[in-house]
Structure formats: C-alpha cells, structure tokens
C-alpha cells in the first residue's frame, strides 16, 4: 500500500522522471501531468495527497497561476474541494523573487519550494514533512 498519491505537474520529462523515481523509491504512488491544464484536470481525476508543481511551463508563470487557481479563496471555485492539498513548487535558484506579484503581493499560495536540480533527500524530507501535517 502506497504512502500517498503525488501529482507531478512539470513539462520537463527528465525532472518528472527523476522526481518520480525518488518518490517511488520512498513508496509513493506517482501521477504525472505535462502542463498546467492537464495538471488541473488530474487534480480532479486523481485527488492526489500532494502536488509538485513546476513554475515555467506554457508560460513563465503557468505554475504560479495553477497554484492560484487551486488555492482560490472563492468558495465557488471549481477547485474548492482541493484547496487543502499541499503544494511544493519546483523553482530554479533566484526564481522565487520575480514570482511575488499578483493581487496580493505577499500571498504565495504554495507550502514549500524545492530548487532544481532535485535533490532526493531534500525532496523526500519536504514531502514527508508536509504529509505529516
């Protein structure tokens, strides 16, 4: 029995594979999506216990917008049922700063960040930390 189902939303197949291998080794079930659109559909279809989300996909801020959609404060949002799913954002070094834009500048709707390249130990530690909450 897997410890949980994790959805990886990343358009880079190599990062997705590396992340998947780490997570499977640690006994998680992994689902992948190659774009934010596909990712949002999979959130509904799979109801994962945690989401790992890339920032730059179709657009430079696609990941950020996906997170905003998932964490919308509108109670009638299509994703209201999924707003409690923890999100880890995959970023490159220095990339967090330019992300801080949008209507509420201090509001970053994710729970944690992981710098690329993905480090297996850091990844597992952060995933387990969030799932244990």
């Amino acid at each position: 029995m897997a410890k949980g189902k994790i959805l990886i939303i990343d358009d880079d197949p190599d990062i997705a594979l590396a992340t998947r291998l780490c997570l499977e080794q640690a006994d998680y079930e992994v689902v992948e999506a190659r774009s934010s659109t596909e990712g949002l559909a999979k959130v509904k279809a799979e109801n994962p216990s945690l989401i790992i989300l890339d920032v730059m996909m179709e657009s430079t801020t696609a990941g950020f917008q996906t997170a905003l959609a998932l964490r919308s404060r509108d109670p009638n949002s299509a994703y209201a049922a999924y707003s409690q799913i923890p999100i880890i954002m995959l970023t490159s070094i220095h990339q967090t700063t330019p992300l801080r834009f949008g209507p509420e500048e201090d509001y970053l709707p994710v729970d944690d960040f992981i710098d690329k390249p993905v480090d297996p130990d850091v990844l597992i530690r952060k995933v387990e930390g969030l799932l244990a909450r």
Binding site: P13, D14, I15, A18, T19, Q25, H94, P117
Partner: protein, 614 residues
C-alpha cells in the same frame, strides 16, 4: 517642484529688484543734487554776485539732503526680511514718495531761481526720464503735473501773488509778466516733456518685454533640463510662453504616428470646451502645414482667416489673435506651440522670434524624453531576453543533474563502483556548468538591474532568513559550524530584494564552499544609525594578500581556490561588488591565507516605508 517656480514670480522678482536698484541709484544722484544746489548757490551769489535768495536756496539744498538721508535709511532698513510681494509694494511706495518730494523741491528751486525764466527749467526732463524708467505708469501724470505746476507758478508770479526773482543779468525784470514768453515757454517745455515720456516709455516697454522673454527662456531651459518627463515639462513651457507674452493661453500639439493628426499634449489658460473642439489634422489646417514647414505664423483676424481649421470655435473662445511656432527637432517636425491672445493688438515678429525660441526648447525636451523612453524599452527587452535565456540554459542542465542524482542513489538500479565514479564526475561537471550559467546570467541581469528595480527601502530580515535556511543544511552536510544570527529588530535597507538575495547568496555560498571541514562560517548583522553592517566570516582557505585587490574583477579567481580544485566562475564577487555599489553601500574584505576570510558589507539603512513588493 524645485526650479519650477512660475514665470510671474520670477518676473516679479526681476522687476522688484530692478526698481530697488534704480531707487538706490536715484538716492546716489540726489546726494549730488543736494550738494550741487549748495555749491551752485555759493558760486552764483559770492562768485558771480547774482541776486539769488541765498538763505532759501541753502535751505532747499539742505532739505534735499535731509529727506534723502531718511529715504536712504528707510530703503536699507526695510528690504531684507520682507517677502517678495511685500518688498515690491514697499519699494514702489518708497519711489513714489521720493518722486513726490523731488517734484516739490524742484518747484521751490525753480521759484527761487527765476520761475518761468529760470535756466533750471530743463531739469524737468531729468525728472520725467527718471519717473518713466522707474514707474512707467505714472510718467504721463508726472509730465502733466510738471506743466501744470510751472504754469501755476508763472501765473502766480506774473500776478504778483508770489515774489519773482530775476537772477540772470541782462534779462528784463518783467519778462515773467510777458504773456507771449510765458506761453511759448510752457508750450515748448510741455511738448518736450510729453515727447520725452512717449519715447522713454516706448523704450522701457520694449526693454521690459525683452526681459520677460529672456526670463521665460531661462525658466524654460531650466524646466527642460530638470526632468526627463515630457508632459510636465511641456505644460510649464506652455505656461511660460503665455505668461511671457502676457496673453490668455497656450497649447502644444504633437504629430501622432501617422504624422497627419496633431494631438494635444499640454495647454494653459484655455477652456475645456475649446480644447474638446475636435481633432486637428494637417489635411484641414493650412496653418499647421505652413508652421510645420518651419515657419512661425501670426493670425491677426481668426474669424476671417481661411488657413484655420476651427475659426468659429476660436472666436467663441474670445481669441482675437494667435501666434503659432513650429516644434522641430534636428531630424523632423514634431508639433506646434500656439499662443492665444484676447487683446486687439496683434502679435509682432519679435513675439514670433521669441516663441520660436521657446518651441526649440520644447523640441529638446521631447527628444530627451523620447530617447529616455527608447533606452528603458531596450533595457526591458534585454532583461526579458536574459530571463528567457536563463530558463532555456538551466532547464536541460537541472534535468540532467536531477536524473544523475537519482541514478547515483541507486534509485534506478545498482551501479558498479566505476559507473558510480563516472557519474560523479559527470555530476561535478554539470554542477560547474550550472554555476557558470547562474553567475553569468545574474551578472548580465545585475548590469541591467538599475532600470527595473531602483533601490528602495527593502526589508532585510526575511531575505537573510531565507538565505540561512538555504545554506544551513549544506553547511551541516559538509560538517561546518554554521552560525547565523538574524537581527533582533526588523531592518530596512536601501536596495532591492533580488539584489540582496544575490549578494548574500554569493557571500554565504562562497564561505561554505571555500571552508573545509571542520570549520566555521559565521554571519553577523549589526547596525548603527545610518547603516546595516553584515559580516560573513569563515575559517576557510583564505585569499593570498597579493591578489586581494583583484577580488571582484570579472572572472578573476584566486590561484589557491583554483589549485584546491573548487569550481567557480569568478563572477560571484563581481556581482556582489556591483550591486553594493549600486545600492550606495560599501564592500570590504580581510583575509589571511589558510586561516580564513571576512567579508563586510555596509548597506544604507532606511527609515522609509517598507515595501513588500519585489
């Protein structure tokens, strides 16, 4: 708003200063006049033995000197602490009093030296010129008063109501009762005085106008140089032009991209309904076509002028005449500057020359603003390009690194020792490549940082916190003692968030990188009234003293760092240095080979509002 005082204020200061300096000169002249009256009396009575009323003349001379002393004292005492407007009122009043007293003493002096037959009658011209220069509005009154006074004096003396002094030998003693002589004297003198007032005031008027124009040009040049923003500069320019020409309003229209329409960009003193009259297009405005061919145009009768696109609206606005000057850059026509007058008097060629000069300043302002705009656009494009390249270069490397790490952990099956060794080497090469990409790109970005994120009050604590978090684990894994004390109070420094992250990322990252286990890396944050001082100290390999000065040069790396086989690009400290300079801070290194290095960064503390934005 400094330097953008209104033209009217500037001109008032000018004219007030002008009157004050003239008044000073008048006082100086009067000292001479008083002394001359005394000396001339002595010479005429005792030298030439002329039958002058000696005592009254001495009295007149002394009275002149006495009131001059009072006026002198008054002017000295009252001017400095007054406001501009008060000073002007004060000096005007002072001049009026002086002129009045002069008028009175002149009359008495004339009476004592022969009334209508006095050779001193021509002194009136001096007085009239003085009044015209100082108080042009009072000049005709003063001329009329002078004539009336002389006529009155002649009448009183002729009828014996006042004694008459015959002072010149050979002049008939009853000349002053000769009606023909008296009338001729008064007519010639009167005509002379009126002509003098007319000529002198004409000259003064032109001089004042020139003064206004020069002041307006100066003011405009100042405005143009004080800002790179186009609209406020052009608004000041329109206002300066209207005020200097003493007319109702002004407007500036610039050609749009089609070079067919003239769009309003600045105006002064015009009604909204006039401004909303409709688009101005070259096709319908012969006036503007002519102006843009580089020729100022004067319109004296707008209602009848067929070159105008909107004659009715101009008439409805109460405009009686217009003057339009071209705004032309070195390369092409940019637009037009119009001034509108409600007065019947039409604009002159001189006005046109002046307005053309003002419009020239406008062209400079517009060119400056456009050049500035183009520069920042180019810079934005560059920054965007750097961001795109950053992503494209990093993505494949981080993908490969991620896979490599997973494989090295045996997550994709067991590996032989040799395979592991090869993968480790590959991993090392990829790590160096990523570091080089990161440094190169942040170096490129830091060169462009000024245009996008100018230094502003930036909270420091959160950034230091994230740096500490980022490196704590790395230091622990390497077996280093990592001490990083965050400041107890929230500090805000003049910088930007991205820049601060780059600075501390580099410094702390370097300290950990160049310190072998078991060593220490210590980060301390202190502050005084003006600055935050961050020190990053390590017990690492150190930097040889002879290369310390090269530290921070692009691509420079200390030889011992290279020998130790530690990868790096030599760009990190160059970035730190550049950013610290840009923020107005200071950068300092102390180091001892094989003992460690201490980097000290000083950044200006701000008390301004904290900005949470990036």
């Amino acid at each position: 708003m400094q330097g953008l005082t209104t033209n009217a204020g500037l001109l008032r200061a000018f004219s007030s200063h002008d009157i004050a300096s003239n008044s000073t000169r008048l006082i100086l002249t009067r000292w001479a006049a008083g002394v001359m009256v005394l000396l001339a009396t002595v010479v005429c009575v005792h030298g030439l033995r002329l039958p002058l009323p000696e005592a009254p003349l001495y009295a007149v001379g002394l009275i002149i000197l006495a009131y001059n002393a009072i006026v002198f004292y008054w002017q000295m005492r009252r001017i400095p602490p007054l406001t501009e407007a008060d000073a002007e009122t004060h000096i005007r009043r002072l001049v009026l009093v002086q002129v009045g007293l002069d008028w009175l003493s002149m009359t008495i002096f004339l009476h004592l030296t022969g009334g209508i037959t006095s050779p001193a009658v021509s002194f009136f011209f001096i007085h009239v010129v003085i009044v015209t220069v100082m108080l042009p509005a009072y000049a005709p009154i003063y001329a009329a008063l002078a004539i009336a006074m002389l006529g009155g004096l002649a009448l009183l003396e002729a009828q014996g109501a006042l004694p008459h002094y015959t002072v010149l030998p050979g002049v008939p003693a009853d000349l002053h009762t000769n009606g023909f002589f008296v009338l001729a004297q008064i007519i010639f003198l009167g005509t002379g005085l009126v002509a003098t007032v007319f000529i002198a005031s004409g000259i003064m008027h032109r001089l004042r106008q020139r003064e206004l124009h020069i002041a307006a040009l100066l003011q405009t040049a100042q405005d143009v140089n004080s800002t790179l923003e186009m609209t406020p500069t052009l608004e000041h320019l329109a206002r300066n032009a209207a005020e200097a020409l003493a007319v109702r309003g002004a407007s500036i229209r610039l050609l749009d991209a089609t070079r067919e329409n003239l769009n309003l960009v600045a105006f002064f003193g015009l009604s909204q309904s006039y401004l909303d009259k409709g688009p101005v297009s070259l096709r319908h405005s012969e006036l503007d076509r002519r102006v843009l061919a580089n020729q100022a145009v004067i319109i004296c009768d707008p209602m009848q002028d067929r070159r105008l696109q909107y004659p009715q609206e101009i008439a409805a606005e109460g405009i009686q005449s217009m003057l339009v000057a071209p705004i032309i850059s070195r390369h092409r026509p940019l637009g037009v500057l119009r001034v509108y007058s409600e007065s019947q008097r039409c604009f002159t060629e001189e006005d046109a020359e002046f307005l053309t000069a003002i419009a020239q300043q406008g062209a400079t302002a517009i060119e400056n603003a456009l050049a500035h705009e183009q520069l920042s656009e180019a810079d934005q494009e560059r920054a965007q390009f750097v961001r795109a390249v950053t992503h494209e270069l990093r993505a494949p490397v981080t993908g490969a690194q991620s896979l490599m790490r997973v494989m090295l952990r045996g997550m994709a099956g067991d590996l032989s020792d040799q395979q592991k060794d090869i993968l480790r080497r590959l991993e090392g090469r990829l790590d160096s490549l990523l570091a080089l990409i990161n440094d190169l790109l942040s170096f490129a970005a830091s060169k462009a940082v000024d245009m996008h994120q100018p230094p502003h009050p930036t909270p420091l604590n959160a950034i230091l916190g994230s740096i500490r978090e980022r490196y704590a684990l790395q230091a622990e894994e390497k077996g280093l003692v990592f001490k990083f004390d965050l400041p107890a109070t929230p500090l805000t420094v003049r910088s930007n968030e991205d820049g601060l992250i780059r600075i501390f990322d580099n410094l702390v990252g370097n300290a950990i990188k160049y310190t072998p286990a078991p060593g220490h890396v210590t980060v301390r944050v202190a502050h005084d009234a003006d600055n935050v001082i961050v020190t990053v100290a390590d017990t690492g390999i150190g930097i040889p003293e002879d290369v310390l000065e090269h530290l921070g040069q692009e691509f420079f790396r200390a030889p011992n760092a290279k020998e130790a086989g530690i990868s790096g690009t030599g760009l990190g400290l160059a970035i730190v240095r550049q950013l610290v300079d840009y923020f107005g801070g200071a950068f300092h290194v102390e180091s001892k080979l094989n003992e460690g290095s201490t980097f000290t960064i000083t950044l200006p503390l701000t008390t301004g509002p904290e900005t949470a934005s990036a």
